[in-house]
């Protein structure tokens, strides 16, 4: 997994590229939690993720929880494999999901 990050005025977008599994989700977790600490709005662009397991899903849930009601946490354009695992886990309704950038 590679991780791209872009920032503009109070808003961070993290873009993991590749596979998010037990070996790579800790790096995504660290990046998400650091971004939440630094900014009020965090987007995770999931368009370039071609595999995600439950550790990846739990990482996103953790991000959402860390934002509580104070900050904005959005999933951007999830790829088909990501939507599939979110739906399989019945968690697709939990997140704010933005289909188009």
């Amino acid at each position: 997994m590679e991780l791209n990050q872009t920032e503009e005025a109070g808003h961070v977008i993290l873009q993991p590229v590749g596979e998010v599994d037990l070996s790579t989700s800790p790096a995504l977790r660290d990046a998400i939690l650091a971004a939440i600490k630094a900014q009020d709005s965090v987007g995770v662009d999931l368009s370039q993720v071609d595999y995600m397991d439950s550790s990846g899903v739990a990482t996103l849930v953790e991000g959402l929880k860390a934002c509580a009601d104070k900050k904005k946490f959005t999933l951007l354009t999830p790829s088909e494999p990501v939507m599939k695992v979110l739906k399989l886990a019945r968690l697709d309704g939990l997140f704010r999901i933005q289909e188009q950038m």
Partner: protein, 143 residues
């Protein structure tokens, strides 16, 4: 009975999970499992292996688990066997997936177990009394 198939011994290093997924995908392809079903099954087997690494071995990378992929007349069987800490009974029972409002309860291991039940036609957990776990995931063979 000797069931036709393939087995691999894998170090408990998360970096190898991608290799395991590739092998499982090839095995299911070889027996004509449709792509959609294969993707879900690969995920669920990955969860079983990840639980061995994370929970049975507590994240130690230098242990080993064994993945066996076998065929019977009725099933495609995928078995993950470790020699680590046995899973507590309450962690491996079928509970269904949590309601959305319960997301505070979500943990990767717990979610993984419920995904295994959801995806496979038959799931058998056999934690050892003092050591080791074996989980057998069975998919009906395509007609």
């Amino acid at each position: 009975m000797n069931k036709p198939g393939i087995a691999m011994e894998v170090s408990s290093d998360p970096a190898l999970l991608g290799v395991v997924r590739g092998a499982v995908r090839c095995f299911l392809d070889a027996y004509g499992v449709p792509n959609e079903r294969t993707a879900e099954a690969v995920l669920a087997v990955d969860e079983a292996c990840a639980n061995a690494i994370r929970h049975a071995y507590g994240g130690q990378k230098d242990r080993k688990f064994r993945l066996a992929m076998r065929t019977t007349e009725r099933w495609l069987e995928l078995e993950v066997r470790d020699s680590g800490k046995p899973a507590p009974r309450d962690k491996i029972v079928q509970k269904g997936l949590p309601e959305i409002s319960d997301h505070s309860e979500i943990t990767p291991g717990g979610l993984g177990v419920q995904l295994m039940y959801k995806v496979f036609d038959n799931v058998d957990f056999c934690p050892g009394k003092t050591r080791g776990n074996c989980v057998t995931l069975r998919l009906k063979r395509p007609e």
